[in-house]
Amino acid sequence: MKVAVVGAGPAGIRAVEVLVAAGLRPVWIDEAAEGGGRIYQRPPAPLKRDAKALYGFEAGRATSLHAAFDALRPQVDWRPETLVWHIRPGAKQLHTQSGPRRDQVEYDAAILCTGAMDRVVPLPGWTLPGVTTLGGAQIALKAQGCGIGRRVVFAGTGPLLWLVAYQYAKAGAEVAAVLDTTPFATKLAASPGMLRDAATFAKGIYYIGWLRAHGVRIAEGVTPIGIEGEAGVSGIAWRDPGGREQRVDCDAVGMGWGLKPEAQLADLAGIPFRHDPLQWNWVPERDVAGRTAIAGHYLAGDGAGIGGAAVAELAGARAALAVLEDAGRMVDAAQLSRLDAALARQQGFRAALDRAFPFPRALAAGVADETILCRCEGLRAGELRAALAADHAPGPASELNRAKAFSRAGMGRCQGRVCGTAAAEIMAAALGSTPEAIGRLRGQPPVKPIPLVAEPVA
């Protein structure tokens, strides 16, 4: 049986581990040069630092996953620095690009473990150099060993906000402020649920406490006004819960409001999506084991709905077992029920986490007309709103793909990954509708840009 696994993060590593243990030699593909995925991304060799400094509380997990990856690599067909840019589910083919090289991979079963990306709300000034996503800020620190600025503000909401701020402060950077759009009371209300994973909850509390104890300015329940600066970032302004305007000097901003699945391949594979009311994301549909409506196609990890790294490990192993079960192989029943029970336990915690850090819908819906919404196309929020108006020349757009067709929102390099969430909120507010009814931008190949070449190297 030929199995292809896309992604070598926690989900992909645990999936491949199960497949190899069953005597299979899967094709394993990742865009990155090394295994580890987002959270356990490894620095390039010249920048080796010890795991404790890089991964903090997760050092044990990181070391264990990296060791698992290193042990698996010689036993599989490992293809690093390789993008899967198209999938043809009927013929069961993946199309890959690696440098100038183009290949086609045939499979009987594919496990897509493609992870997540930051969810962004456009703010005035967010396209200035010096502004990155929280994930981008973290990668700069982990993989390149340098921060995004000398005096950094972190803005947004979610566990990653506090974690990245902590990691920066711990690494010696000056954190000028942490601005959380979620009020303290919302988090407090969700905390009983979060106690279902007491250890993870405790880590979150620890980061916040550590930042406070070290005198980092913290504001919760804020409404960001904008990032200031001409050629670069010079400060950030916000409104506090009392409505007063505040500002602070800084030379870089890391921002993000939770994560969204990187689910383009799942979309191209024809897997149906649903709008998850808790995560407030479009997620590909799958069962607890990662099976989908498209036979032979399985999903695991954050790409199948945000669950975090621990869930990704469990889900990766579970999906690989589903592949084996569906191929009629014997699987260890005890291992199955252990995984299912552990996955079920995590659900309550995730739901509480999503309640604790809700997506700021009003902030996204209210992006000012003159603020850039789609940075690939240089499109301002007002231009999207104009395409919804009754007097718009080719007619008013009523759903997201039509708004894209009329206004170019989401038509650039990133195919709306970045602006899609905010665009849907803007439309829903303007049309008195819901993001669910407004829809989602259709995935189109290539998943990421690929170069025009005269003669492909194969």
């Binding site: 840019w85 080719p394 067709a405 170069p451 025009l452 070449v453």
Partner: protein
């Protein structure tokens, strides 16, 4: 709901028909399964090209070009129609002979064309690759934004009094003594003495429902677009044989077509194919070598209806009085759409059109003797 004319299908052709009919005072109801321009008319390459067309199509293409020229006045937007010229290229002697032969056809239909020989082609277009040996330039041709045309025609049609219903799939079409009866999926009924079948690929099923099946097959041209790069390719480029075509828009993106993707018209569903995209990339870079390394950011395809002789079905039904067809544009009906609406209006209201339509008669597919069956 009752009307003078029912239009089945809201592509560019159907929306133009609704507009022209309403402008002349007819009560029109157009029914569209999805959104207007949601199928072929909204996703095509955007070529507004007369050069290279089948001679029978040229009178319609000439007429349509005239409407394209006043699109802004007609519908409130020019749909980004730009007269860039269309440059058709030859890459060997046989292809060059093809270009030369077409000059006579063009002259006959008063289509301005300028032949560019070996000596001048690289001087005039220094970015063309050495594979190119000659070209033929059509100065009146150009390109437009397909995403805007059908919705803009639809909007103008509504303003002129037509009723256009989107998300309305017709599931049954019949004719009795009271005229045509169309029934939507939701169970709504629509009646009129005249029916225009402008349902694109799906027009074949409508014709079949009235006892005149035709051999129409789905055609899904494979399309890609690159990231923006500095503007340097002004004309819309094609080649003899058509295995690649490309154009650049002033904001910098380059749209590249070539080969066919896959589709399932029943869903409807369509997708580009990786190996076809890769092959078209190769042809594109050989045509314009400096495109090497430019990033492709998106690809797509759509569904048009293709007839075996690659020209559409246009004209009255052979079986059913009051039924008129215009479908199966075989991959080149975007340019024609505006004129098709005007011509159908004349057929319905005047009983004749000012362009010859014999070549497009549905009867060309009728089996000998049975008056209805498709040719095997």
């Amino acid at each position: 709901m009752k009307a003078d004319v029912l239009v089945l299908g809201g592509g560019g052709a159907g929306c133009s028909a609704a507009l022209h009919l309403a402008q002349r005072g007819a009560r029109v109801v157009l029914l569209e399964r999805g959104l207007v321009g949601g199928q072929a008319s909204g996703v095509n390459y955007g070529g507004v090209r007369q050069q290279g067309r089948h001679p029978a199509e040229l009178p319609i293409a000439r007429r349509s070009r005239e409407i394209w020229g006043r699109m802004k006045a007609l519908v409130g937007t020019d749909a980004e129609f730009t007269v860039t010229g269309h440059l058709k290229l030859a890459r060997n002697e046989a292809e060059e002979a093809d270009l030369v032969a077409y000059l006579d056809t063009a002259k006959e239909y008063r289509l301005p064309l300028r032949f560019i020989g070996r000596n001048s082609i690289h001087r005039e277009y220094p970015w063309l690759g050495p594979a190119v040996v000659a070209g033929s330039f059509a100065p009146e041709d150009g390109a437009a934004n397909p995403r805007l045309l059908a919705p803009a025609l639809a909007r103008a049609a509504r303003e002129a009094g037509a009723v256009l219903l989107e998300n309305t799939k017709v599931v049954s079409q019949t004719r009795d003594v009271d005229g045509f009866l169309l029934v939507s999926e939701a169970g709504d009924e629509f009646r009129a003495p005249v029916l225009l079948n402008m349902a694109g690929f799906w027009g074949g099923a409508v014709a079949e429902a009235f006892g005149e099946p035709v051999p129409v097959s789905p055609l899904s041209p494979n399309m890609m677009v690159t990231e923006p790069v500095p503007y340097f390719i002004e004309p819309n480029l094609g080649v003899v044989g058509g295995n690649v075509y490309l154009r650049q828009i002033p904001r910098g993106n380059i749209i590249v077509g070539g080969g066919d993707g896959e589709s399932d018209p029943a869903t409807p569903w369509s997708r580009p194919l990786a190996e076809v995209s890769i092959e078209a990339m190769g042809h594109a870079v050989r045509l314009v070598p400096s495109l090497a390394g430019v990033q492709v950011i998106r690809s797509w395809t759509g569904i048009d209806g293709e007839m075996p002789d690659r020209i559409p079905v246009i004209g009255p039904s052979g079986t059913t009085p009051g039924l008129f067809h215009a479908f199966g544009f075989s991959g080149h009906g975007f340019q024609l759409g505006p004129a098709i609406g005007a011509i159908m209006t004349e057929l319905v209201l005047d009983g004749r059109a000012d362009v010859p339509l014999e070549a497009f008669a549905i009867s060309r597919f009728a089996g000998p003797g049975d008056g209805g069956g498709a040719k095997a």
